[in-house]
Structure formats: structure tokens, C-alpha cells
Symmetry: D2
Subunit: 135 residues, 4 copies
């Protein structure tokens, strides 16, 4: 598990006064990007240098309590599953009080760029993901 | 079932060359807003006039095929479930070829604004939703 | 001049209850994309087929009156200037009452993709823009 | 002058492979929100507690060089002008090489919430802004 922080910005909110729901999934992906960068696998570099993509094939989120402008979220990031050609990341969003306010899961597949077909997860990625597998 | 159309805009895409995954959930919600407007329940008016909110408590999406800039989506909107205090909307995104490229579901709960607690779905909303229930 | 319409969606707004300022520039660009499509110059096709890009080198917007969720904007699109290697588009956002609520301008430059340098505006683009030049 | 950092995320980019232009204005506003928080004027708290709003009445940005996914921007934040009822913030975006890749300016007005009319800038805000005035 890795913990990141994120403070809710005006852009994340909507006229109902709280977070716009899809923003939580964008924030989850930002946490994933930070994790990848910390693992030596910056997405920007991957796009330029490797023959695979890691598109999201499934995304979901649950909303438990209102998330207001300025709230400082603690995001617990973990890996739920590492499969042959896909992996599942999990995000728990906690308020400073410790209350869980939302959760999210993203499933990424490894796609071979030339063919557009599923491919096995590259070994450096598997090595980066495995230490964070939930037990 | 109601069918809406949406053409993928530059803002919806990312540097991987296709739709940014969370955009599909935003597009789903735009279709919901159009449905509500067509049903005489404009979200902007509701925010100003009714004592309830309809926040999303669960959202999910599946991605089946790449969705590129400029693609004209046909979005089939239907109601999957109408419960006591929540309802589930479903979205099927089709390419002009008829291929299904993505699906999404959003679960909205009715929340009493003064108390912040769940409340029963307002009758005008139930009347708007029921004709579009999947069978 | 071409007139497009756009209804403000929840995603466009923020917790202050009105449009998030940068959304007006995104909406302007969506109007530009519609104009280009109507002119036979779909951005998605251009990206795949032509050796130039049309990045924005300057953007600005003025906000005159609050823009609320659900407001149906009429967007007057015109061309302010066609230069050698750049052009300026202009957007006037009107409420249904006729009140002007915001304006925006976007300056696009033509960039040769192989070299990354400025290039002359392609002739088909000039032909599409000129009929909409302000007088 | 205050320097903040921001790394370009996938969500900030578009299918042309670089930053979506309006993202630079959103990033500018995030830097403003951080500045306000550091000054004891969190936007989320202001929305709940003060009788004024600080909407943007003018926004502009210039783009000097391509901004790619993963780029770590240094953002130099300064105050260009403090007027009676409005103020202008300025943002210079630098690559790690020191190259200036974009600039932005945002003009905020102080609006009295009950009346919706312009009002004088609150004194605590003036005190927070003045030390960062450009000379």
C-alpha cells in the first residue's frame, strides 16, 4: 500500500457544492501516474518508448460521504490483482478524520500497439505492482 | 430506451490518442442531464427549487474498443432499476457501425438536503424514469 | 458568422454555483471543432492525415454575467483575423434573453509536424475561414 | 513571487499529444488556490463563511513551447495589480531546463454575494496579495 494526498480543487467540484463524481476517477488515475513515476515507469516516457499501452478496460467508484472543496484526501493505493494481461488497482479515499469517503477501482489491460491485441504484462511492470498486492 | 448522440471532442481525449477513460462517465451524465431536461426536470431548476439532491453513489464503466477523436457515438439510455431511494441508469455507447464500444452505469440516491439523509424518490422523478425501465 | 448552441452541464460548473471559468474556453473550442467538421475539416481526420497541427498559441476570455447550470447559450462564432501562419477565432456567448454573458478569442498557429516550425496556413483552411471574417 | 510545481497528467493532455490548452488555465487556478490556502484564505472556507465571491472576469494564456505528458512545470506566481475591487494574478510556467513554456493571467473581481455587485477587496485579501506584487 502507498498513501498519497490530494486536496480538492474548485475544478473538481460542481454546482451541487461537492465533488463532481467523475473527478474521483481522475484523481485515482493521477495517483496511479504518481505511483508509476515513483516506480521508474513514467507514463509520458512509456508512451514514447515502449510498444504497449495500458488502457483502462473497467473503472468503478463508490461514494460514501460528501467530498467538499478544500478537503485534504488521503488516498490509499494498492494492487488488487495482477493477471496475465491485466491488473486491478484500488483506491481508498479518506478524510483527515479517518472516515472513508469514497473508493475506486481501475482495471488496466496491456495492449500491443502494433496489433492492438492484448499482450502479457511487461515484466518491469509486474515487478513494480507485486509489492503492493493486497493480501 | 432513449437514444442520444455525442461526438468525441479534443477535450475528451488524451495523449494516448483515444478517449480519456473518465470522459465516458461525464458523457453518460450529460445524457442523463438531457433526459432529465426532456422530462421537465432540468437539474439547474431542481437545484434552485427542490429540497432534495440526486448525488451519484456508484459509477462504473467498461471499455470495449478504442474511442477516437471525432467518433459519433449513439448512446442508448435506459433505466436498470428504480428502488425506494435510489435508481440505476444504464448507457450503451455504439459506434456508427453498430459496434458497442463502451457501457456505463450510474446509481443516483435521493438525499434530503436539510438532513443530508436518504429519502424516498420524488414521485415526478419515478414517473419520468419508469417508462424507460429495461424489461 | 455562425451560431451554435450549448447548454451548461453540471460538469461545467463549480462549487461557487456557476460556470468554472476555464469551461468557457473548452466550450469555445468545441464550437471551433463543430465549425471545422461542418467545413469538411474534422480535427480527428486532420490528425490522421495532414502534416500540420493547429495548436492554440493564445487564448483569452471575458466574463460579463454569471452563467448558471442549464443555461442555453447561443454562441456567435466568427473569424477575427486570417494571417500568414495563424488565425484568430472569436466567440460571443449570449443568454436566451440576448444578453452577452461572455466572450472568448483563440489564436491558432499552423505548425509543420516534422519540423515543429510555423508554416503557412493550408489553402483549404483559409477557404473555410474567409467567409466568416468579421468586417 | 511564489514558486509552485505541477507535473502534467494524462488528463491534462489531448490526442494531439500535448497539453489541452485550457488545462494551463486550470493549473494556474490550482496554483492560486494553493496560494490562498497558504495565506490562510482557503477557498472552501471562504465559500462557507464570507459574504463575497472572487469570480474570474478575465483570463488569458500564451503558449510558447509544447508541454508534454509528465513534464514537471515550475510555476512562478505573482500579483500584477491590486485594484479597488479587482486584482490580477500572473503565472509563468517554466520547464526544468528553465525555458518558459507558457504564461497566464487571471483577473478576479470581488462580488458582494447578497447584491451580486462589485465590492472593495476585503482587507485580509489585500494584505495577502501585496507582498507578491511585481515591481
Amino acid at each position: 500500500m502507498v498513501i498519497h494526498t490530494y486536496q480538492i480543487r474548485l475544478h473538481d467540484t460542481d454546482a451541487a457544492g461537492v465533488i463532481y463524481f467523475a473527478s474521483i476517477l481522475r484523481i485515482a488515475h493521477e495517483v496511479f501516474e504518481r505511483f508509476m513515476g515513483d516506480s521508474g515507469l513514467e507514463l509520458g516516457q512509456l508512451l514514447d518508448t515502449v510498444p504497449y499501452l495500458l488502457p483502462i478496460v473497467h473503472a468503478e467508484a463508490d461514494f460514501i460521504a460528501p467530498i467538499k472543496l478544500g478537503l485534504r484526501l488521503h488516498v490509499q493505493f494498492s494492487i488488487k490483482k495482477v493477471g496475465v494481461s491485466s491488473f486491478t488497482t484500488r483506491y481508498e479515499f479518506m478524510a483527515p478524520t479517518g472516515q472513508r469517503v469514497a473508493t475506486a477501482e481501475l482495471v488496466h489491460a496491456a495492449i500491443d500497439r502494433p496489433s492492438g491485441l492484448k499482450t502479457t504484462l511487461p515484466e518491469p511492470l509486474v515487478q513494480a505492482l507485486k509489492p503492493h498486492l493486497e493480501v
